[in-house]
């Protein structure tokens, strides 16, 4: 596989030496000075591009503003586009390979600048006998915009092959290594630039990736998870306040839900009296942030409503406006809540509880090895999920489905938050089942929430004498009701299938395994 090569360049010069090395290797070249190239790296807040092995960077210089999508491992560009501005969201990207690659990755998240650099140097376009460019080699001298001024990175020579031309690379690389005595470097420019501003790649993860230590008490393990989740809440606050993208509120809410779920699962184990207080406080935070998220999800469904109603008419626009107005009010309340002493006190108090690494995290039941406790909890919760699932039928209430959904989430969090407590294959199989269930239960819940909001709107518009809008809401209610019913039936079918052909057996076998391994 072709890739770009980087060599550390001692000192600030190197252009003459590189030119000489290329000439000795038998190549003609054209030299192009890079007077000033402003490069900015972009990613989503949660590093979706980096995690997928991609880099997105803009370069602004003599040729305008260019956006490069680059493979991280090879250092080669996948596609380059000229833009007027750097797109903020995937939907702002022009059609083409870049959008096709990025849209499924970044979804609703916004592209944010990670680090900004200046590059001055020289590009050497290496030519063959037909004056065709067969390789590019560049002297790159970077300076990073840090908070306290500019930081100079080590200078480097970047050698970038052209697809289908292997020979120049084979001749030039040894010349650089042996004739110029240069050392190849692995780290990319981004990693060095991040280091210069005190960051590192993947320094934010919504889900904790905390491996259990051998024999680690459940209390200690839980404390580490809680610390991570509180960090996530705090990391997302600014994005929620500034409404950078909808992912910030989502991540904040998930961290809160995971905290509540774990507090609830471990309430008999972590028995300190004030834990009950924090359970209640996090429940408050969940209620505070819930309506805005629900309304965001609802507003995102309007493109489907357009299809259902055969286009966007004034009635649908009235419904959308009503929801937007409601969202504005809910958002104001949420922001007030997030600025309140109650919220500050929740964070401060919870942080101080977590910072006290004292006996309460290690003594009594909290001192039992985490893997043992988690396996036991998983077994118990799994049996409860199966029992509740079996009870569901066509006559079940929305609340029954919602309650099972919560159970499934709790079980999923237990498995995900303590990776290593269970056998990896077993955990994966169980998570697959839970995800299938959660997908349908989530769809059911979405329909149910939207239906209830739409019924309120129908009533309200009817009272205002807006029969046309109320009729549109009624027709949407019918479609939502159908959707909810379909999700119910699909879930029941899925659960029956799971119980009939294997998953029930698999689940029992799993339960057996869990029992064995916990004995």
């Amino acid at each position: 596989m072709q890739k770009a090569y980087h060599f550390a360049l001692p000192g600030q010069s190197g252009s003459e030496a590189l030119g000489t090395a290329l000439r000795h290797a038998g190549f003609a070249f054209r030299r192009h000075p890079i007077s000033l190239l402003q490069r900015v790296y972009y990613d989503t807040f949660d590093w979706r591009l980096y995690a997928a092995g991609l880099l997105l960077l803009s370069e602004e210089g003599g040729e305008g503003l260019r956006l490069r999508l680059r493979e991280r491992n090879s250092g080669l560009d996948v596609v380059v586009i000229d833009v007027v501005d750097v797109p903020r969201f995937a939907e702002n990207l022009p059609q083409g390979v870049m959008r096709k690659r990025l849209a499924p990755l970044i979804e609703e998240r916004r592209l944010l600048p990670l680090v900004s650099l200046e590059n001055r140097g020289d590009e050497f376009r290496v030519l063959d006998g037909q004056s065709k460019i067969v390789m590019r080699a560049a002297i790159e001298r970077y300076r990073v915009d840090g908070g306290d001024g500019r930081v100079r990175l080590r200078s480097r020579i970047a050698v970038v092959p052209v697809r289908g031309f292997a020979e120049p690379l084979a001749k030039v690389l040894p010349a650089l290594e042996h004739d110029l005595q240069l050392k190849q470097i692995d780290g990319g420019v981004l990693e060095e630039a991040l280091d210069a501003i005190g960051r590192r790649p993947l320094d934010y993860r919504a889900r904790p990736d905390l491996r259990l230590k051998r024999g680690e008490p459940i209390g200690e393990a839980a404390r580490r998870v809680f610390v991570h989740l509180l960090d996530v809440v705090e990391a997302n606050e600014d994005g929620v306040r500034q409404e950078t993208d909808a992912g910030f509120l989502h991540d904040l809410r998930v961290a809160v839900r995971r905290t509540r779920s774990l507090l609830s699962e471990l309430k008999r184990i972590l028995s300190a009296p004030h834990f009950g207080h924090y359970r209640a406080e996090f429940a408050w935070l969940s209620r505070l942030t819930g309506p805005v998220r629900d309304l965001d999800v609802h507003l995102a469904a309007f493109h489907r409503y357009e299809r259902w109603l055969g286009g966007s008419g004034p009635e649908l626009e009235s419904l959308r406006a009503a929801l937007r107005k409601r969202r504005t009010g809910e958002r104001r309340a949420m922001l007030e809540g997030l600025a309140s002493p109650q919220y500050r006190s929740l964070k401060k108090g919870w942080r101080s509880v977590l910072d006290e690494a004292d006996e309460r995290w290690r003594s009594g039941d909290a001192g039992v090895p985490a893997d043992e406790t988690v396996r036991e909890l998983v077994q118990r919760r799994h049996e409860r999920v199966l029992a509740r699932g079996r009870k569901l039928d066509r006559d079940s209430e929305d609340e029954d489905f919602h309650s099972l959904r919560k159970q499934v989430k709790k079980l999923r969090y237990l498995i995900e938050l303590f990776p290593g407590a269970m056998h990896a294959g077993e955990a994966r199989a169980m998570l697959d089942d839970l995800k299938s269930m959660q997908k349908l239960l989530g769809r059911h819940h979405d329909f149910s929430v939207k239906l209830s909001v739409m019924r309120e709107l129908k009533k309200s518009f009817r009272e205002q004498g807006r029969g046309d809008v109320a009729a549109a809401a009624k027709s949407l209610c019918e479609r939502l009701q159908d959707g909810k019913r379909e999700a119910e039936q699909e879930f029941i079918r899925l659960f029956d299938r799971m119980a009939a052909d294997g998953v029930g057996k698999k689940a029992r076998r799993r339960a057996g395994k869990i029992r064995e391994s916990s004995q």
């Binding site: 596609v79 380059v80 083409g96 390979v97 096709k100 065709k132 460019i133 697809r163 289908g164």
Partner: protein
């Protein structure tokens, strides 16, 4: 991924110039683009300064050697070239020996799905087994046509052939090239023919010296004479092709085309 073939039964109508300039424009707009020089003469490869040579030749490609390994990067961002090879003159014989002789090209191109937005085929003239492969592999057949009697005859032959062979799963977009506004015949044909063939593109490429200079400059017109009449004509043509592609996806072109054929 859309496959656009620059094709005409007749030679010397500006197929290569169209393939080179349109692929260059596509790449410049940020679409990942490949141009496959299928003509053993290797003119497109020459324009991009790449030797018309494929190590294992046409036979190697047909044996499943894979297209990826022979693709060359051009001097332009987003634009790759699959070079010509003199052995392509034997492509018909090789295709004839294949299990599905008319679908080999489709199968080969399938391997590039997802890697490119547009693939341009610069096709040799003639109507052979390779042409049938091209018809079946392409979403759109771009047919550069000089507004002369013989060129129109070649276009008519192509339309009849496709109709007879039931090749209706792609769209034919003819457009005029080398239009000399000083000639009355050119002017008349350019004005009248689109009424009979609604699929005909409204834009045309003028007869101009800057296109001829492609051989000296060894590059697309837009790279050295971006503000010239020819470069702008290719830009307009490319824009129209993209519009037509959208229309084709909506099913509009086929309906209009069928209607036009009835009129003709």
């Amino acid at each position: 991924m859309k496959v656009l073939a620059c094709y005409n039964i007749k030679g010397g109508v500006g197929k290569t110039a169209a393939a080179v300039n349109l692929s260059w424009l596509s790449a410049r707009e940020g679409f990942r683009t490949l141009i496959w020089d299928l003509d053993p003469q290797g003119a497109a490869s020459f324009y991009f300064r790449v030797s018309p040579y494929v190590p294992a030749g046409a036979e190697g490609l047909m044996r499943g050697g894979g297209l990826r390994s022979v693709i060359k990067g051009t001097d332009h961002e987003n634009l790759d070239l699959l070079p010509a090879d003199f052995s392509y003159r034997n492509l018909d014989l090789l295709l004839d020996q294949a299990i599905k002789p008319q679908r080999c090209l489709s199968a080969l191109l399938k391997a590039l799905e997802g890697e490119y937005d547009y693939i341009f085929l610069d096709c040799p003239p003639g109507i052979t087994l390779l042409s049938e492969n091209i018809f079946r592999a392409s979403d759109v057949l771009l047919v550069p046509t000089i507004p002369t009697t013989l060129s129109l005859r070649a276009l008519d032959q192509l339309l009849r052939f496709c109709r007879r062979e039931g090749l209706d799963d792609f769209s034919i977009l003819p457009f005029f090239t080398m239009v000399d506004g000083r000639r009355a015949l050119h002017r008349r044909i350019v004005e009248e023919l689109p009424r009979q063939i609604p699929a005909m593109l409204a834009n045309h490429i003028p007869y101009a010296s800057d296109v001829e200079q492609m051989g000296l400059r060894r590059s697309a017109v837009g790279a050295y004479a971006g503000n010239g009449r020819s470069a702008r004509a290719y830009e307009d043509t490319w824009w129209e092709i993209k519009m037509r592609l959208e229309w084709i996806e909506d099913g509009g072109l086929r309906a209009a085309y069928a209607e036009g054929e009835k009129l003709a």
